[in-house]
């Protein structure tokens, strides 16, 4: 599974000093969300879209890239202007910035990936309310410099994407008998009817649950 990667240490310290672009701290920003601080399985954010768009690998991939793009650039912009944002309207300012990036992404998909955009229309719009984006803005970008914030956005987007793709892999394989649209069971000459449960959000819920179980068993993480 692509989620089970390197590093098992605690989340990085928040304060940054002048250092290399890919210093150890900055690398941790990218790697930690893949496993020990995964936005879906550990922070339990962004579950809604993880259940909804994972019916096919292609849509999951586009959604993951879209969210990575939005989180990274929203983090970057909010971090750039964080000292000028009035505290009383900071959530509205964050939402405005996120909305701009989401709409730009949506317009871009409609222009260059029309078929995918049609399938994802509702969920691309809903990135605005995706907890991961707002969560990272509040928890990280409002208190950190632009470059680490940008990396944090990419890291969390990738962590989200890794779970999405894992779920989509199992759902498409067992639900439709295909991978990226290629009918694998039919190609192997095996009769396969497709498991209807995998096509429903309930199937995704079960897979996410299993991933969380496997990951916590592997990381020896227990709730207190």
């Amino acid at each position: 599974m692509s989620t089970q990667v390197e590093e098992k240490k605690a989340a990085p310290a928040v304060k940054e000093k002048s250092e290399g672009l890919f210093s150890q701290k900055n690398r941790k920003l990218l790697v930690d969300p893949l496993n020990s601080n995964n936005p879906i399985t550990v922070q339990v954010l962004g579950i809604c879209s993880a259940l909804a768009v994972t019916i096919q690998i292609q849509t999951a991939l586009v959604m993951a890239l879209g969210l990575t793009f939005v989180t990274a650039f929203s983090n970057l912009f909010i971090s750039l202007i964080r000292d000028s944002i009035p505290a009383r309207i900071r959530i509205i300012v964050q939402l405005a910035i996120v909305s701009v990036w989401v709409i730009i992404l949506d317009q871009f998909l409609r222009a260059y990936m029309y078929d995918v955009a049609k399938g994802l229309s509702v969920y691309v719009g809903l990135i605005i309310t995706n907890c991961i984006v707002m969560g990272r803005l509040e928890a990280y970008a409002m208190a950190n410099k632009p470059w680490p914030s940008f990396l944090d956005g990419i890291g969390n987007g990738l962590g989200y994407g890794a779970i999405l793709l894992t779920v989509a892999f199992f759902r498409e394989l067992f639900g439709s008998g295909s991978l990226l649209g290629y009918k694998v069971f039919a190609a192997a000459g095996l009769p396969f009817q497709g498991n209807g449960l995998m096509l429903l959000p309930a199937g995704a819920c079960i897979i996410v649950g299993l991933i969380i179980w496997a990951q916590r068993a592997y990381n020896k993480h227990y709730e207190e």
Binding site: I92, A111, S121
Partner: protein, 244 residues
Amino acid sequence: MRQSNLYIILYTAGLTVLCGVLLAVAAEGLKPQQQANIALEQKRNILTTVLTLDENANITELYEKRVKAYVVKPDGSVDEGKKVEEISIVDEYKKPADQRLLPIYEVVSESDPNKAEFYVLPVYGYGLWNNIWGFVSLKSDLSTINGVSYAHAGETPGLGARITTEEIQQRYTGKKIFEGSNLVSVQMMKGEGNDYSDSPHKVDGMSGATLTAKGINNMLMDYFKSYENFFKAKMNNKQAINLK
């Protein structure tokens, strides 16, 4: 200063203008490409209801060769003064069914350009969350469905959004909309996995998307009714409507 009302108002105004400009630039810059996608999609949808298109098919060329489009009045006669491009399906949908101007796309035979093989009509309605639309192609008897092509604005992916899949659309092929001279339309039933191959007016449903299916049923009935006069005129006297 940063907490003062004046600062907040000015900050908000500045941010609004900046966001507005960015969005306007993005929307205007990408508009031609988006519109080209929509136009091509429409042609593809019309053609896919009657032909099996391979990935590399030249949609525009095929459309110009095979499709003859005209506008039908509520009484069933052809409106010679109107072009299909002038008709907005969305605007017409808002009118009562007996006042709509309706486009018809006649797909002619490859060998004889005067022989209509299929009639494709646009349909428009409301699903569970938002509008749904599509095309229905009828064989030359004007009762047998040859194929359908549906699209939607916001049905749930994996549930109602399945109306765009080949699997669902294929279920309509061969169904009849007329029983004798009575318009019956075609109903998508509740529940999935049932065999309706013996029933000319029923198709298997979509599990978990009963309300989208209802929307589809209402949409089909609504539009078949609007076209009923045209169908009957065509059936009764094929020569009565003289094209071109």
